[in-house]
C-alpha cells in the first residue's frame, strides 16, 4: 500500500490544530455571554463622551460615570439615561424642545411625583451636514438656556418652545458620537438601562413617544 507520510503529518496536524481551535471556541461559548456593542435594543450602548455644558460651565463628560455596572432589573436605585441626538438648527428638535424639557423635569424628579427610577436626560448636540446648519458651543448654550442672541433653525434660540433645560448638552459638533451611535437623523432618542444596555430607541419604535417608552420600560422593570 502506498503511503504519503508528508501529507499525513500535515493532515494530522491540521486536525489537531482545528480541534484545539474548537476547544477554545467552546470554552469561550460556555464561560462567556458577550453582548454586542451597538445601538439596537439589547446591545451595549457605545461610549458617549465629550465636553458637556451643564448650564454654567463646560466639563469633560463620560456616560460611564452614570452607569451602574451590576444593576439588575427591578433595582430602582439604578438611574436610567435618555440620550437625545439633536441639532440646534433642526426644526424638529426646536419644536420638540418644550416637550423634552417637561419630560426631563418630570423623570429627573425635578417636578411632579414620578414614582419610577430617575431617568437622566442627556442631549448630544451635533451639526448636521445640511446647508443652513451652522452651530457652535455658543448656540448650544443659547439653546439649552433659552437665552442669548444666537439663531436656532432660523429664529432666535431664546424664543424656542418651552422653558430652559436642566440637563447636560454634549458638544458633538464634529459628529463623533453621532457616527459611533449610527444615528440616521435628528432628533433621535435612546433609552439606556442603568447597566448600559439599550432598552429602547426611537428609530426602532417610531410609533412610541419617549414618555410612553419610559413608562412602559422602567415601571415594568420595577415590577419585575
Amino acid at each position: 500500500m502506498k503511503t504519503n507520510t508528508e501529507a499525513d503529518v500535515r493532515t494530522d496536524t491540521g486536525i489537531k490544530i482545528m480541534a484545539l481551535f474548537f476547544v477554545a471556541i467552546i470554552f469561550l461559548a460556555v464561560t462567556t455571554d458577550p453582548i454586542k456593542t451597538g445601538t439596537k435594543e439589547g446591545d451595549r450602548a457605545p461610549p458617549l463622551e465629550g465636553l458637556a455644558f451643564n448650564g454654567s460651565s463646560w466639563y469633560a463628560f463620560d456616560m460611564d460615570d452614570y452607569l451602574t455596572v451590576n444593576w439588575t432589573a427591578g433595582d430602582v436605585e439604578g438611574q436610567w439615561l435618555l440620550v437625545e441626538f439633536m441639532d440646534t438648527d433642526c426644526p424638529f428638535c426646536v419644536r420638540s424642545a418644550g416637550e423634552m424639557g417637561q419630560d426631563a423635569d418630570y423623570f429627573m424628579k425635578r417636578v411632579g411625583d414620578w414614582q419610577g427610577p430617575v431617568v437622566n436626560f442627556i442631549a448630544s448636540a451635533t451639526e448636521l451636514d445640511i446647508p443652513g446648519h451652522d452651530s457652535s458651543q455658543d448656540e448650544i448654550e443659547a439653546f439649552r438656556n433659552k437665552n442669548g442672541e444666537e439663531v436656532c433653525a432660523g429664529s432666535s434660540c431664546a424664543s424656542r418652545d418651552g422653558e430652559s433645560h436642566h440637563f447636560v448638552y454634549i458638544d458633538d459638533l464634529d459628529q463623533d458620537n453621532m457616527k459611533e451611535w449610527k444615528v440616521p437623523g435628528t432628533p433621535a432618542y435612546f433609552l439606556i438601562q442603568p447597566d448600559g444596555i439599550v432598552a429602547w430607541s426611537s428609530t426602532e419604535n417610531t410609533d412610541e413617544k419617549v414618555r410612553e417608552a419610559i413608562f412602559r420600560l422602567t415601571l415594568n422593570n420595577e415590577e419585575a
Binding site: 507520510t5 508528508e6 503529518v9 500535515r10 496536524t13 491540521g14 489537531k16 490544530i17 482545528m18 484545539l20 481551535f21 477554545a24 470554552f27 469561550l28 464561560t31 462567556t32 455571554d33 458577550p34 453582548i35 454586542k36 456593542t37 451595549r44 457605545p46 461610549p47 455596572v69 451590576n70 459611533e180 447597566d195 448600559g196
Partner: protein, 213 residues
C-alpha cells in the same frame, strides 16, 4: 477571581523559555537538559521546541484576551486599574477593540493567526526535512512580519487611550519572538545547521548494539 496579572506569568514563562531555546543561550541549556531528553542536544529540535512553546503561549493569551473582551461586554470588570496597565480600558473600548475592516475582535484575529503559526511550527517540527518545510518557514516569517504593522496600529490605539493591555502586549511579544524564530530557522538552513546528521536515537541504538556484541 484570580489576579489576572498573576496569570501573565503563565504566558511570560513559556515565551521566555522558548526564546532562550532559540538563541545561543539555549545551547548550554540544551546540553544540560539533554540528560533528561537526548533530543534536545540538536539545535534544530531545541529551536522548534522553543517555537512551539512560544506559538502555543501566543494562542493561549489570544484566547484569554477574547475571554476578557467578552466578560467586559457582559458588564464585568476583569483587570481594570487606575494605572496605565488596564486591559479593561483597552479591550472594553468599542472604538478600538475590533479590527476596522471586518469588526472582528482582535483576540479572535490572534487566535486565527496563532493557529496558523502553530500549524506551521508543528508540521515543520514533525517533518523538518520535507520538501515543503523550508517554504512553510518562509510563510511563517511573512505571516509574523505582516503582524508588525498590525501591532503598530494596536500600540497607536494604546497610546491614544494612554492605557496598556498587558495580555495584548504578551501576544505582540509572542508574534515578534516567532518572527525571530522563523528568521533564525532560515539562517539555520543557510548555515547547514538544520539537519540532524547523527540522530540521537541512532547513536543510542549503536551504543546498545556495541554493548550487546
Amino acid at each position: 477571581m484570580v489576579d489576572q496579572n498573576l496569570l501573565l506569568i503563565a504566558y511570560i514563562l513559556p515565551i521566555a523559555f522558548g526564546l532562550v531555546l532559540m538563541t545561543k543561550a539555549g545551547d548550554g541549556l540544551g546540553a544540560s537538559l539533554s540528560g533528561r531528553n537526548p533530543l534536545l542536544k540538536h539545535a534544530r529540535r531545541r529551536h522548534m521546541l522553543g517555537m512551539n512553546l512560544v506559538v502555543f503561549a501566543g494562542f493561549a493569551v489570544s484566547v484569554h484576551t477574547l475571554w476578557i473582551s467578552n466578560k467586559i461586554s457582559e458588564g464585568g470588570n476583569v483587570c481594570s486599574s487606575a494605572t496605565v496597565f488596564s486591559c479593561d480600558d483597552v479591550l472594553g473600548n468599542a472604538q478600538y477593540n475590533t479590527d476596522p475592516v471586518f469588526n472582528i475582535p482582535w483576540g479572535m484575529i490572534g487566535i486565527f493567526a496563532f493557529c496558523g503559526l502553530m500549524f506551521i511550527t508543528n508540521c515543520v517540527s514533525k517533518e523538518p526535512d520535507a520538501l515543503w518545510a523550508e517554504n512553510y518557514l518562509k510563510y511563517g516569517k511573512y505571516m509574523t512580519a505582516l503582524g508588525l504593522p498590525i501591532i503598530a496600529l494596536l500600540i497607536s490605539y494604546e497610546v491614544a487611550m494612554e492605557k496598556i493591555c498587558q495580555f495584548c502586549t504578551m501576544a505582540h511579544i509572542a508574534n515578534v519572538v516567532c518572527l525571530f524564530g522563523f528568521w533564525r530557522a532560515g539562517k539555520m538552513h543557510e548555515e547547514g545547521l538544520w539537519n540532524d546528521e547523527e540522530p540521537v536515537e541512532a547513536e543510542a541504538e549503536k551504543e546498545e548494539g556495541k554493548k550487546f556484541w
